[in-house]
Symmetry: C2
Subunit: 145 residues, 2 copies
Amino acid sequence: MFPPSITLVTLGVTNLDRARAFYAALGWEAAAESQETVVFIQLAGQVLGLFPLDELAKDQGRPGAALGTGAATLARNLGSREEVDAAFALALSAGATALKRPEAVFWGGYSGYFADPDGHVWEVAHNPFWPLAKDGSLTLPSLGT
Amino acid sequence: MFPPSITLVTLGVTNLDRARAFYAALGWEAAAESQETVVFIQLAGQVLGLFPLDELAKDQGRPGAALGTGAATLARNLGSREEVDAAFALALSAGATALKRPEAVFWGGYSGYFADPDGHVWEVAHNPFWPLAKDGSLTLPSLGT
């Protein structure tokens, strides 16, 4: 059995202090479980980890491997276009690199992309067809109650 | 404001049918919102998307970019070592590549890594110090109720 959920998303980083500071500037504070060599941030129902890239490669059982970014994107849906613009601006002020400024997109929503200091790609989006729960969690409409 | 949660994790894939079949073999079924060119799978409180790599690069505002994998790992914590072994075996039977077979690790838990057919890295782990809620969600002990 492999129950469908993700409990922990770990991002490999080249400079842990820089990564911690970037996410703290978003308002994403390191939890007490963080240590000198790893940062843990509580998200809704799951945890975000920041971990040195070389340590991550070792942990994956392939020390020295060059690990890449970009093909896995992490998105935060938000309740309106204005919230998307505000989150995007906050990310840039925290040191993110803009990949695509928020704009209306073909599927009827509004979306922008940025990269964190290590190249991890985030999307902020408003999807009027996929309403969020009050806690920010997302259940697909076909599965909603 | 950038509320700390991830609503959607999108994995770029080179063959959408193969990726859909791999996750279906884990028991992760495509939801009705899926279309010919994108697959959506409901996870606990968030959604997993499978999307062609070249389309993902375009969506990110950088058509033609080579997107990499491995530096962002997705973990599923489970309730016991036996559950980790079973999930790992299921993933291999579904076509995953073993990176590190589950083993006792220095932080006191038990963890294995595999890559999906497109190189996206998953960890299955048991962490006796971080109990899971009944719905599979993870709250750090320092923040628990």
